[in-house]
Amino acid sequence: MKTRRTLKGHGNKVLCMDWCKDKRRIVSSSQDGKVIVWDSFTTNKEHAVTMPCTWVMACAYAPSGCAIACGGLDNKCSVYPLTFEKNENMAAKKKSVAMHTNYLSACSFTNSDMQILTASGDGTCALWDVESGQLLQSFHGHGADVLCLDLAPSETGNTFVSGGCDKKAMVWDMRSGQCVQSFETHDSDINSVRYYPSGDAFASGSDDATCRLYDLRADREVAIYSKESIIFGASSVDFSLSGRLLFAGYNDYTINVWDVLKGSRVSILFGHENRVSTLRVSPDGTAFCSGSWDHTLRIWA
C-alpha cells in the first residue's frame, strides 16, 4: 500500500474530507477557510469556495453528489449546491442550515440530501432539515465538546454515534433524541468514531493514543488497538470494506493499519509531513484518502 495520488492546493492545514458516492470525487476543507472539490483520479480541482471563517473543521458530500456541507468557527453548517456552470459563483448559492452556540466539529448528511446531522463544541448534536433550516431534533448528554459523529449504515437504521472531549462515546436514537448507550473507557478526548460495516460495532480513535472497538449488542469495549511505541493521539479512524482492517491516522504523522480481529498492527504508512487530521476509505473500498496539516491529501491504494 502506498501513496498513489497527492492532492496539493490547500494553503493551510487540511482539517476534514469526505468522499462522494461516485467513489471518485472528494471534498476537503482547511484552516484557511477554503473548501475544495477534487477529482481523485486526475487530481484536478473541480470546485472551490472560500468560507467567511477560518478553521473549517467539518465537511461532507451529499448522497446525490449535488451538494456539499461545511462549517467550523462560524458555528454554522452551510450547504452549497454544486453546479457545472462555466462561471459558477458558489458563495452566492450558500444556504445556512445549522446554528450552534460554538464551533461546528462534524457534519454528515443522513440518507438523503434533505437532512443534516451536526456535532458542535457546545456539547450537543443536532438534526436539521436542509430546505427550511429547521431544527428537527437535538441531542443533549455530552459533558463537553462533541468532536465527531458517524451514522449507522443504512440497513441498521436510525442511530448514530458521537464522541467527545468528555471521553465518552454515545449512541443516539435519531427519532427520540434519546441516548441509548454510552461508553466511557478512553482516557482522553475521542477524536473520531466510525461504525463497523455491519453496524453492530464501532471504533474510536482518541488522544490517549489508542483506538478501541466497542460492540453495540454486547454493550462493551471488545478490543484495544495500541502499542507502547505509539504515544501520539489518533485523530481519525475508518474501516476497510469488510471490516477486517482499521486505518488510523495519528498526530505523529503516520497512519497505522490494524487487524481488527487480531488486535495487532499490520502495517505503518509514512508520507505525511505533519499530523494526519482526517482519513476516509472510499465508498467501494479500493482506496483511502488522508488529509494532513502538511496542506496535502494523499490517496493510498
Binding site: Q181, D200, A218, V222, S240, G285, A287
Partner: protein, 73 residues
C-alpha cells in the same frame, strides 16, 4: 440563601436525570461477548473476498494504480 437552595435543587434535578439515564442504559438487552465477536469474525470472513484493500485487486482494475504507459505503434 435562596441562591444556594436553587443550585442544590438544580444539582438534585441533574442527579435525578443522570440516575434515570443510567437506569435506561442498564436495562438494555446484552448478548455475550463470545457471540458478538463470533458475529464480527463471521462478517469479516463473508466480506473479505470483496475487500480491495485487504485482498488487493489487479492494477488494471484499480483506477488509482498506475497502468503501463501506452506505446504508440
Amino acid at each position: 440563601m435562596s441562591g444556594k437552595t436553587a443550585t442544590t435543587s438544580n444539582n438534585i434535578a441533574q442527579a435525578r436525570r443522570t440516575v434515570q439515564q443510567l437506569r435506561i442504559e442498564a436495562s438494555i438487552e446484552r448478548i455475550k461477548v463470545s457471540k458478538a465477536s463470533a458475529d464480527l469474525m463471521l462478517y469479516c470472513e463473508e466480506h473479505a473476498k470483496k475487500d480491495p484493500l485487504l485482498m488487493g485487486i489487479p492494477a488494471s482494475e484499480n483506477p488509482f494504480k498506475d497502468k503501463k504507459t501506452c506505446i504508440l505503434l
